[in-house]
């Protein structure tokens, strides 16, 4: 126990600082990505012709190796948090756009027709029916993106953006396994923690009656 205490006393502040930077990179990138991707996904459900090409184009970003993407941002934005956040943001878009789009498109057609037949406008149908009913699918996309971001944010270590990646990169450089663990373990913990928080968010945002209905469906299966 005293060994652990000593370790935390010595290394704790450094790890905490890196963890703080890591959270900063991830949270800012995710906030920007959600802010763009959810509305974009919703707009695509109203302009369906554009959906396939737009989603495909965003998918192309995903095929670019993350290391290359982060590297390419440096000449554009300079080394530092900006380059790293931009790369994370681009990476986080696809799961959210895709899930928002498929979530809304997946709402039962009978439900939409009932809403239309009662005289709801297209935007009333979107905000009163489609959006509340696709919360679980949209949140699943956000959770996927968050976990991807926490992982890729470790590349911040090589573009002078800080974060837990810094410890890992130094560890690799010096062949020091302990340093790699110092970066990797908190990153894993962070991914699990954020995923857990988002799961709570999902519960909070999913309308109660819909949760009950989904529960019933699961039990029926």
């Amino acid at each position: 126990m005293s060994g652990l205490w000593e370790f935390l006393h010595q290394r704790g502040p450094t790890i905490l600082e890196c963890l703080g930077q890591h959270v900063y990179l991830t949270v800012i990138a995710m906030a920007l990505a959600i802010g763009l991707a959810v509305p974009l996904g919703l707009v695509l459900t109203r302009t369906r012709r554009a959906a396939t090409p737009v989603i495909a184009a965003i998918g192309v970003i995903q095929t670019l190796p993350s290391l290359a993407l982060v590297g390419l941002m440096v000449p554009l934005l300079g080394a530092g948090p900006k380059a790293c956040i931009t790369a994370l943001f681009l990476y986080a878009l696809l799961p959210i756009v895709r899930n928002t789009y498929t979530g809304v498109m997946g709402v039962e057609p009978a439900m939409i027709e009932a809403a239309r037949g009662m005289g709801m406008t297209s935007s009333q149908i979107l905000f009163r029916i489609e959006l509340p009913l696709s919360v679980p699918v949209i949140m699943a996309g956000i959770r996927t993106s968050t976990i991807i971001c926490v992982g890729i944010a470790t590349l911040g270590g090589i573009v002078n953006a800080g974060g837990l990646g810094l410890l890992i990169w130094i560890g690799i450089d010096r062949s020091n396994d302990a340093l790699i663990y110092e970066g990797a373990i908190p990153a894993m913990g962070l991914a699990l923690l954020l995923d857990g928080l988002l799961a709570l968010g999902e519960r909070a945002f999913t309308p109660k009656g819909f949760q009950l209905a989904r529960q019933e469906d699961r039990e029926a299966v």
Binding site: R116, G117, M118, G119, M120, P207, K208, G209, F210, L212
Partner: protein, 325 residues
């Protein structure tokens, strides 16, 4: 009030769903669009509230072409109850019923009152059901909420697309009976779509029988059953002719053939009416276990009907409608 004027709908790809349909509805009637799947009955109904636009022809409501009315405005004035219920799972019963009143921006208090009134009307205790979610209701209860929702803003016209289709036979019959009763109180013009000929006969003032988008016959249930307009109608009724005629034939229409003993009404708690169908009469005899029951027309005693005379009459009609003679 609602007029279909040479209405046609051809879907892209050339499928003729509805072909040159003309008919005029009577205010306050329940018109059943009856037909098999692909007959065009649902397409016809959905053109009324512009969920589908016609290829040619017109639908007039009170002399105005629906194509010239803003679809959103139009739909808010027409009640709509659909197949598979279509209740919104994330809204409470009260919120589901209140959808159209909310769209019409009714004051809150009025919406609350109206919701309670409607729930009472469809046989659901408001205090018990208001705050439940659809997943906490049985199939029959959901369907009742669906009916209440369609009536919420008190629309003069109501469209119902197989609203009782997803129910078990017992609940279904119960809801049909209740709806017939409710319908006679609320006096709406109703277009009711079904593929079930028994349901049609039960609900309809008039039945429009469709096949492949074409109107085959427009008639009251009794006329349809007694005098089919063509071979298709005859075949459609098919083996159900006998049962259907028991449903559509009323004691009143057979008064001259019935051996109704006059004199004093037999003393019993039960009575038959001139408008009772032969099935109703059989049912009453079975329930009451009497050999004779009094028949009334608008409260006036007509005579006593003996069970044997009823059975003889039914046996006689068998030769005409039931078996291949």
């Amino acid at each position: 009030m609602i007029t279909f004027d040479h209405l046609s709908k051809t879907y892209p790809g050339g499928v003729e769903a509805v072909c040159d349909l003309s008919l005029e509805m009577i205010e306050g009637e329940t018109l059943v669009l009856l037909g098999t799947s692909g007959s065009g009955k649902t397409t016809t109904m959905k053109m009324v509230n512009r969920l589908i636009d016609p290829t040619s022809g017109r639908i007039l409501i009170d002399d105005s072409d629906v194509m010239e009315i803003d679809p959103i405005e139009l739909r808010r004035k027409i009640g709509y109850a659909i197949q598979h219920i279509g209740l919104f799972p994330h809204m409470t019963v009260a919120d589901n019923v209140a959808v159209v009143p909310k769209l019409l921006a009714w004051p809150r208090a009025r919406i609350g009152e109206r919701v309670d009134e409607l729930l009472g009307m469809v046989g659901l205790q408001p205090d018990d059901f208001r705050d439940r979610y659809p997943s906490q209701l049985s199939g029959g209860q959901k369907q009742r909420v669906g009916v209440a929702r369609a009536l919420a803003a008190d629309p003069p016209i109501v469209l119902m697309d197989e609203p009782f289709g997803a129910l078990d036979p017992i609940t279904r019959e119960q809801l049909q009976n209740e709806f017939v009763e409710l319908e006679s109180e609320i006096q709406k013009t109703i277009i009711f779509v079904t593929h079930d000929v028994f349901e049609a006969v039960k609900m309809a003032d008039r039945i429009a029988l469709l096949d492949a988008g074409r109107l085959q016959q427009l008639a009251t249930p009794a006329e349809l059953v007694e005098s089919p307009a063509n071979e298709f109608v005859d075949q459609f009724l098919g083996q159900h002719r006998f049962q259907l005629s028991l449903l559509t034939t009323t004691l009143g229409s057979l008064a001259d053939q019935l051996d109704i003993a006059s004199g004093q009404p037999v003393k019993t708690g039960r009575r038959l009416h001139a408008r009772s169908s032969l099935i109703d009469a059989l049912d009453e005899f079975k329930k009451s276990r009497r050999r004779e029951l009094p028949v009334y027309r608008r409260g006036q005693f007509m005579g006593n009907l003996r069970k044997e005379s009823l059975l003889t009459l039914i046996a006689r009609s068998l030769g005409e409608a039931g078996e291949p003679s």
